[in-house]
């Protein structure tokens, strides 16, 4: 098997006495879209800067296309494009000029794709950068990045400032690039975007990886939420491994009881049986969402 696109293990970066990254691990294979998540200040942008060879790792191992991103930055950057979290462009140039300036170094810009993306993102390339809104500056960076024939796209909160319509265009474009075989490292706070685009996820906190895996795996770790309405006395559910169990009278004043709980997905089948047998009158089952998992990861005390 060939080298992974990106392989980070035990990455440490210190700024003076401050440890911004403290043993971070991350792996990205070709054709993979990995969500890169973490609360503000967790070290996402710092990690991306190390990956891009702008700052030097203080410890640990980073391999980009099997090579050291600090020493081989220039060569490696012919294979990737980057959309920074805070897009800064040259105020005197037009958006179109910025795209070409960025496209001139790095992976080759596909002219047909450039024209197509300008059109799809509804961007006016003749405007001066200083006259663009934040969302339009973001579009310039996105067109410059996505119009290139790159093996890796490094995207730092790429949809910040985009309207929902443009977010949709962004998702389509990324999906197209991935179907061409490119890998994507997507740092984002928009969980629906991560769920829609990413096959795998790495969650970091305080400069350290706290959870990594496929979205399906992570979903497996999350619990299904069940809300059931049964007439009369609810069945005994103590023998099951339920969480957050709550039983309350139904809100319409009837004689029934409303039961809510969360349960591991593989237990669902067994739990539902006694409820059905008890004459189930209403049932809502919400599949596990990453939101809850993320929130609990963001929130947990230091590991």
């Amino acid at each position: 098997m060939s080298d992974p696109v990106l392989d980070i293990s035990g990455l440490v970066k210190t700024f003076g006495s401050f440890r911004a990254l403290d043993g971070l691990d991350l792996r990205l294979e070709a054709g993979e879209v990995r969500g890169f998540l973490g609360p503000n200040g967790a070290g996402k942008t710092t990690t991306l800067r190390v990956v891009l060879g702008m700052i030097r790792a203080s410890g640990g191992r980073v391999r980009l296309f099997g090579q050291d991103p600090w020493r081989r930055a220039v060569r490696l950057h012919r294979r990737l494009t980057y959309v920074p979290g805070d897009v800064a462009l040259w105020p005197g140039l037009t958006g179109g000029q910025c795209i070409d300036v960025l496209g001139a170094s790095g992976p080759p810009l596909d002219p047909a794709r450039r024209a197509e993306l300008v059109d799809r993102f509804d961007l006016d390339p003749t405007k001066r950068v200083r006259d663009y809104s934040r969302g339009n500056r973001q579009k310039v960076a996105l067109v410059a990045a996505l119009a290139a024939r790159a093996d890796l796209f490094v995207l730092d909160e790429p949809t910040a400032g985009l309207d929902p319509l443009m977010e949709e265009v962004f998702r389509e474009c990324v999906t197209e690039r991935v179907s061409d075989g490119a890998a994507v490292l997507l740092s984002s706070h928009i969980l629906s975007e991560v769920e829609a685009l990413c096959s795998t996820v790495t969650i970091i906190r305080r400069g350290r990886t706290v959870k990594a895996g496929s979205v399906a795996e992570l979903r497996g770790l999350a619990r299904t939420t069940v809300r059931a309405v049964v007439p009369g006395t609810p069945p005994d559910l103590d023998r099951f491994d339920l969480h957050d169990l709550k039983v309350s009278p139904v809100s319409d004043g009837g004689s029934g009881r409303e039961i809510t709980f969360t349960v591991e997905p593989d237990q669902l089948d067994r739990v539902l049986r006694p409820l059905v047998d008890g004459g189930l009158r209403g049932l809502t089952v919400r599949p596990p969402s990453l939101d809850e998992l993320f929130l609990s990861e963001y929130d947990e005390a230091p590991a």
Binding site: W90, Q97, D100, D124
Partner: protein, 528 residues
């Protein structure tokens, strides 16, 4: 207009003081310190009435001095000699102080979005401008006060000292007012500063024409309004002060009136659409670098050529005045300072070189902004070598500075050739001074690579060279301190031949600094 546009003044004032105090201390301390040292040095050198009379007899009627420092009124008193010796520095530093302090805390803040956040609070549109004017005016008053204290400490009459201090402060006010008005008309702080510098250049030349030819042109120049108060003569005048204060008030009030009439972030001069794609040249490293710095360099180039040509145009008059004055002819023929025209040419060359340094420094300051504003990240994420990137910009700074110097030298040579009979003397001297341009730019590159946050030291170095070249001898600075200035090390051109050893040393230092800067940039974190 309602009073509401000034709401939040206290908040903005505190913020500007909190974020800008270093610059305020540097300006006030730098100008007052240099002035106090000048007064002290003159008190030592010209301690007696007889010595002062000698100064009056020679320098007092020297037209080269009149062109450079202004008519030396009252040159038989300590205050008058100090005003004359300090004339050049005061004419450059004080207007720049007024201009930069206002532009930096207003237009620059508006440009990078800071004012938008501030204005979303209960802060009126005029508050930032009024605050900037108050802070700048206070700083200028401190400069004036410092001068009064320096003068009275050496026994100068209080009323004379106050008139002088007030005239210098009022000169600063004029340029602070100009920045306020230009800040409404132009969108970028760089443009505001450029307009101010051009006005200053024109004012300097008009003042010089007026002083050499003794005509009314000078009354168009705020620099003359300062000097024509004649504080140390028997006939001190207050009314030129009123000209300055009136102009300052008019400019400032116009500016403040316009603030209330425009949108935040907008300007009276707006931008047009441009090309939808970049040409081939723009997508290259040098192309983008030239695009970033081109306008700045062209402005400096034209400015230097004009200053060289216009200052050079007086050499005829200067030669005539010297020829008509036996004492001066004797002084110059004694050979201490060479013949008057070449002495004058050499001083104008220093002026041209300072402009070249300024051009290089402005290029490098903008290079630093590429990093602090986040654009460098986008570039380094491309397949661009760090050394190539910084090297390209360094080359633009060095070559740009050199071209500015050559433009000034050519302008000077073209207009002095008739008087000196030497077609290319000034231009040859400029070429011989070029290692100094390289070394100043190299210092900036070294700072960018090793201590990027201390890049402002580059401006300190240029200010130091200006002080050495204009006041070094007056201040009786030790040789070692003088030799630090690359211009001084190379020698007074074209009066003297360049010191060969010094040229080698300056060149070697420049190369070492460039290498250190590029190596440091390769190995440091970006952004830092």
């Amino acid at each position: 207009m309602t009073g509401r546009t000034g709401d939040g003044l206290g908040t903005v004032l505190r913020l500007q003081l909190r974020t800008g105090w270093k610059a305020l201390v540097a300006w006030v301390g730098g100008i007052v310190g240099t002035y106090a040292a000048t007064v002290a040095a003159i008190d030592t050198t010209y301690g007696t009435t007889e010595q002062l009379a000698t100064y009056e007899a020679t320098v007092g009627s020297d037209p080269t001095m009149a062109a450079i420092n202004g008519t030396p009124y009252g040159a038989d008193t300590l205050g008058g000699v100090a005003a004359n010796e300090f004339g050049f520095i005061a004419a450059i530093a004080v207007p720049l102080m007024g201009l930069l302090l206002v532009a930096r805390s207003t237009r620059a803040a508006e440009e990078n979005g800071l004012l938008e956040l501030l204005r979303s609070r209960a802060i009126g549109s005029r508050a930032p401008w009024v605050a900037a004017l108050l802070v700048t005016a206070s700083a200028l008053l401190l400069v004036g006060l410092g001068m009064v204290v320096s003068l009275t400490a050496y026994g100068v009459d209080l009323a004379d000292a106050v008139l002088y201090g007030a005239s210098v402060t009022a000169l600063g006010f004029v340029f602070a007012g100009l920045a306020t008005l230009a800040g409404q008309l132009l969108r970028r702080s760089a443009g505001v500063i450029a307009v101010g510098v051009v006005v200053l250049g024109v004012a300097y030349v008009f003042r010089a024409i007026g002083d050499v030819e003794d005509n009314g042109w000078k009354w168009l120049s705020p620099l003359a309004w300062q000097q024509e108060t004649r504080p140390f003569t028997d006939d001190p005048r207050v009314w030129p002060l009123l000209l300055a204060l009136g102009a300052a008030t008019t400019l400032g009030a116009l500016g403040l009136a316009l603030v209330g009439r425009r949108d935040l972030g907008s300007a009276m001069v707006t931008s047009r659409p441009g090309p939808a794609s970049a040409g081939r040249f723009l997508t290259t490293g040098p192309g983008l670098a030239l695009r970033r710095h081109g306008a700045t360099l062209v402005a400096w180039l034209v400015g230097a050529a004009l200053v060289g040509a216009m200052m050079g145009a007086f050499t005829d008059d200067i030669a005539d005045v010297v020829a008509a004055n036996p004492e001066l002819t004797e002084m110059f023929s004694a050979g201490v300072v060479g013949d008057p025209t070449s002495w004058y040419v050499s001083f104008t060359l220093v002026l041209v070189m300072l402009m070249a340094f300024g051009a290089s420094a402005q290029v490098l300051a903008r290079v630093r902004r590429e990093e602090t504003h986040g654009r460098l990240e986008a570039v380094l994420a491309l397949s661009v070598r760090r050394t190539t990137w910084l090297g390209t910009h360094a080359a633009v700074a060095v070559l740009g500075g050199a071209l500015v110097a050559l433009a000034g030298g050519a302008g000077l040579a073209a207009t002095t050739a008739r008087t000196t009979g030497d077609d290319a003397g000034a231009l040859v001297a400029t070429v011989q001074y070029l290692p100094a341009v390289v070394v100043v730019a190299a210092l900036g590159v070294a700072l960018l690579g090793l201590l990027p946050r201390a890049l402002a030291l580059m401006w300190v170095a240029i200010a130091y060279i200006a002080v050495v070249e204009t006041l070094g001898e007056t201040l009786s600075m030790p040789d070692a301190a003088l030799e630090v200035s690359p211009l001084h090390a190379i020698g007074r051109l074209p009066t003297e031949d360049p010191t060969g050893g010094a040229v080698t040393v300056v060149g070697a230092v420049a190369v070492a600094l460039l290498i250190a800067g590029l190596a440091g940039f390769r190995h440091r974190d970006v952004p830092r």
